[in-house]
């Protein structure tokens, strides 16, 4: 394997990793805060991409890429809040919330995907690229679109990290995630913070959808593959820290790039799932997770 190919595979893996980091962080925000797994996250990604298309594409409103991304993120925040209110909140007091939320979020995903199908049809679409052309850096040439995309992802994740660590609302969300009862006793409005967490997660999904839509074709079911990848990443890295899924995302992206190169396109996902199962058996709390006596 030549150095060129190696660099090519690595950059491919890093781009994948950046996208996975965005998806997995969105998934992890809901998981850590509410303790449930949101199966509608893939549909959020698809919905985000389609809203952006509706606003930005020349065939529709034609307001440009930036307006599309912004509108999509804001719109999806409210979709996320609505999903929390309709799909999760009614079941919060049920003892089997984990199982019930699986079926309700699956139902929500079904509604969103069918809604996309009705509104925009099943013909595949594509968002315009952010920038055209290639960039070269230290002898590596990648498309400018992917480079910009990676920069954007890093900026978004940094802002999110700062929000969670510094902003009062972000700190309140982390407090609720750590101990719901104590947070409630301290006067935090838990249902509101849950709604914000869901909305934030959906907004991150919208970003992911906007980026995925510019490098791949969009279909109503475009979110199911990213959802599976995000699931692998979250399990792989655990959710002990905000950064755990991000590191895990880049590792998974690199593994996938190398597995695709060596084992072929069809075997790459199988390798990933096998690795995920091994991680779950040996260290259920994730690679970067802390040891806990009980795993809920």
């Amino acid at each position: 394997m030549s150095a060129d190919t190696l660099l090519f595979v690595i950059t491919g893996g890093l781009v994948l990793g950046a996208l996975y980091a965005l998806m997995a962080t969105g998934l992890a925000v809901v998981w850590t805060t509410l303790g449930i797994f949101n199966f509608a996250h893939g549909a959020f990604i698809a919905a985000g991409a389609y809203i952006a298309w509706q606003i930005s594409s020349a065939e529709a409103s034609g307001l440009g890429y930036a307006a599309g991304a912004l509108g999509s993120v804001v719109g999806m925040f409210f979709v996320g809040v609505a999903c929390y209110a309709l799909l999760v909140k009614p079941f919060e007091r049920q003892p089997n919330l984990v199982l019930l939320s699986v079926i309700t979020t699956l139902a929500g995903a079904s509604v969103l995907e069918s809604g996309i199908d009705i509104l925009w049809g099943s013909r595949s679409k594509q968002l315009p690229r952010i920038v055209d052309g290639d960039v070269s850096l230290a002898g590596v040439t990648i498309s400018a679109n992917e480079a910009v995309l990676m920069v954007f992802v890093l900026v978004i994740l940094t802002v999110l990290g700062l929000f969670l660590r510094r902003a009062p609302a972000g700190r309140a969300m982390r407090a609720v995630a750590q101990n719901r009862e104590s947070a409630q006793l301290m006067g935090l409005d838990v249902p509101r913070l849950y709604a914000i967490a869901f909305g934030l997660s959906a907004a991150l999904a919208a970003f992911a959808g906007v980026f995925v839509g510019s490098i791949r074709f969009m279909t109503p079911t475009m979110g199911s593959d990213p959802l599976m990848k995000a699931l692998i990443v979250v399990i792989f890295g655990g959710v002990a820290r905000f950064t755990s899924p991000i590191f895990a995302a880049f590792i998974v992206g690199l593994i996938e790039a190398f597995a695709t190169f060596y084992a072929g396109l069809y075997w790459a996902p199988a390798v990933l799932f096998a690795i995920m199962i091994v991680v779950l058996i040996i260290k259920p709390e994730g690679l970067f997770g802390k040891y806990q006596r009980t795993v809920q």
Partner: protein
């Protein structure tokens, strides 16, 4: 100790027979291929969902690779029957074997995890199998799957002929076999181990249930008929496609399971029929169909988290309440003369603070009179159970008795407020106040014994208390295990719905064999509001038991225990071991061969003893 009647004698037997008969003649009503196609699909989904219920509902194992077990059954059939040319009749059950083997593999990671991690690892497992299958395109056909699989035939009769009649009955036979398998399994020792492992893992382990073995076998058992159904499905649609791994199929099955009600077996069977028919009926709505189904699922789960089965149970309770209420209302006027003749007393409907109560009063006796006597009957009985005593003591005592709410000809009542011992004691007070009776002798039988003790302990002035078939308790429900011998009939005391056999067993164990003379006591069980049994047992905790015990220990009230020596429910050693301040004859008095109701079985011996107790109580 758990009580399960054999299936032919349980409540579910007759409805099951009716459902089977309907399903057997259904193809003669729906003669076209399309209707039968929908029914066949519904049967297949029902088998898969009900099998999933074993691991998910009963076992609490969130195995989301269950759809993979089904898909593996389909592919096993495809590879064996088409590629290797094996007979479809062997390839179909072979699907069950491979699915079981795969379930065993899935169990390995599941054994170490719990909760949401099980969901995640099984989804990963399912995706792993999916990836392996689509990567082996020369064997499995890759993403496009395998087509033109061999179909079922027997002696050159192709099952697809005559509008799929052969497939219909094969699917029905599979459904019956799968249901029988799951039903038997959940009621077996092993089935109880599965549920115990779900409800209290560490307690089950301390009682010798192996966690690994139980979970492994539960998953494998859930795979058996899933795989066979997969094989059948492969022979029916003649395609093995990787679509079965998708979230769509998973959502369909999960909604069948949760809509029907987890841990019920029957719920998913009904829900499979409803959802399949509904989703086919909306087939031309396109994407709207998915939206309608998804919204329906969420709405049902919001209003009935227990699924349609829970809704059905509520309906059944309403029906049973109306039925027992109507029986009471009809009898109130119609058979009044017969009841009054039986007791030689006048019956009055009294409006108490807990509803309308039927009470009987023999009136002040002529000549020299002893103290008035209040007699309180037991669970699922009626005041006429004391016919012998009313006749024997009616000439010398004023005899009073009443039907508990939900029993006899008293009205049914609010189960939350009325069906408990303290409320019953308040009703007894109201009845005494209505007749203006002061300081009676109170006799209580079984549940009535607790009411009598509660009445006296709450401060009502009584001349004496006698109980039969009642072990006094200090702590409920902890003492119940010691105080009673846990026979299977004892479980019936708190069971809401009794089958005809159970009614007979319960009445025989409490009041004796059915004879023309005691037929009305057997009938009383049928009239009793099932909620009265259920709520009374679940609300045993609201009684102030230590107060009753203290009263017995202090001995200020003359007290007698008149048990049958062969009472099938009581632990006589427990009763004899308690401390009594003032008990007639110094110890519990046993009446030979009296059973649970000595005053019915051995009225003469009972009346002699009771009369002696009354005499001593009046002398004090």
């Amino acid at each position: 100790m758990r009580y399960d009647p054999p299936f032919p004698k349980s409540n579910g037997f007759r409805p099951t027979l009716i459902a089977l008969a309907v399903l057997a003649v259904l193809p003669f009503i729906f003669t076209d291929s399309y209707s039968r196609h929908i029914l066949i699909l519904a049967f297949v989904f029902a088998i898969v969902a009900a099998s999933w219920d074993l691991s998910l509902g009963f076992g609490g194992l969130f195995n989301f690779a269950h759809v993979a077990l089904f898909a593996v059954g389909v592919y096993t059939y495809g590879i064996l029957a088409k590629t290797l040319g094996v007979s479809p009749w062997i390839a179909m059950p072979a699907g069950g074997i491979t699915a079981m083997a795969l379930a065993g593999l899935i169990a390995l990671p599941v054994l170490r995890l719990s909760g949401i991690y099980v969901i995640l690892v099984t989804i990963a497992f399912s995706q792993l199998i999916y990836q392996v299958i689509i990567s082996q395109s020369d064997i499995t056909g890759g993403t496009s799957g395998m087509v033109t699989l061999p179909s079922l035939e027997l002696f050159d009769y192709r099952f697809i002929k005559n509008h799929r009649i052969g497939y219909y009955y094969t699917a029905l036979a599979l459904l019956i076999a799968a249901t029988a398998f799951l039903y038997t399994l959940t009621r077996s020792r092993f089935g109880r181990a599965i549920v115990a492992m779900r409800d209290n893992k560490y307690y089950a382990m301390s009682r010798g249930v192996s966690e690994a073995r139980t979970r492994l076998l539960a998953l494998m058992a859930s795979g058996l008929f899933t795989g066979i159904a997969g094989g059948f499905y492969g022979s029916y649609v003649r395609v093995a496609s990787p679509d079965a791994f998708g979230l769509g199929f998973l959502t369909l099955l999960l909604s069948i399971l949760l809509l029907g009600g987890a841990a019920t077996i029957w719920g998913p069977l009904i829900a499979a029929l409803i959802i399949t028919v509904l989703s086919e009926a909306m087939g031309d709505l396109g994407p709207w169909r998915n939206i309608i189904i998804a919204v329906t699922i969420v709405l049902v789960l919001v209003f009935y988290p227990g699924g349609l089965w829970a809704a059905f149970q509520e309906l059944r309770e309403v029906f049973d309440t109306v039925r027992t209420g109507l029986i009471a209302r009809l009898r109130r006027s119609r058979e009044k003369a017969a009841r009054e003749a039986r007791l030689n007393a006048t019956e009055t409907m009294i409006r108490t603070r807990h509803g309308l109560i039927a009470a009987a009063d023999s009136g002040e006796p002529d000549g020299e009179a002893g103290p008035p006597i209040l007699m309180i009957h037991g669970n699922s009985s009626c005041k006429e159970v004391f016919a012998n005593q009313f006749k024997a003591f009616g000439k010398t005592h004023r005899m009073i008795s009443f039907d508990l709410p939900g029993h006899g000809v008293s009205a049914n009542a609010d189960p939350e407020k009325v069906y408990n011992v303290p409320a019953y004691a308040e009703i007894a007070e109201d009845v005494l106040d209505f007749y203006g009776v002061e300081r009676p002798i109170v006799f209580g039988w079984s549940l009535g014994g607790y009411i009598a003790l509660e009445l006296a302990a709450s401060g009502r002035a009584v001349r004496g208390v006698a109980i039969a078939g009642t072990p006094p308790l200090a702590v409920a429900p902890d003492d119940v295990g010691q105080a009673y011998d846990a026979t299977s009939h004892f479980i019936l005391a708190g069971k809401q719905y009794l089958s005809p056999m159970e009614m007979r067993n319960f009445a025989t164990a409490t009041a004796g064999e059915k004879t023309p003379g005691t037929a009305y006591l057997h009938e009383a069980v049928n009239r009793t509001d099932g909620r009265a049994r259920f709520y009374m047992i679940t609300k045993l905790m609201v009684v102030n038991w230590p107060r009753q015990m203290r009263m017995l220990r202090e001995g200020a009230v003359p007290f007698a225990i008149l048990n049958g020596s062969d009472d099938p429910f009581l632990n006589h050693g427990y009763i004899a071991g308690l401390t009594y301040g003032a008990i007639w004859t110094g110890q519990p008095h046993d009446i030979a061969d009296g059973g649970h109701a000595p005053f019915v079985r051995k009225p003469d011996a009972f009346n002699t003893a009771f009369s002696a107790f009354i005499g001593e109580a009046c002398d004090r």
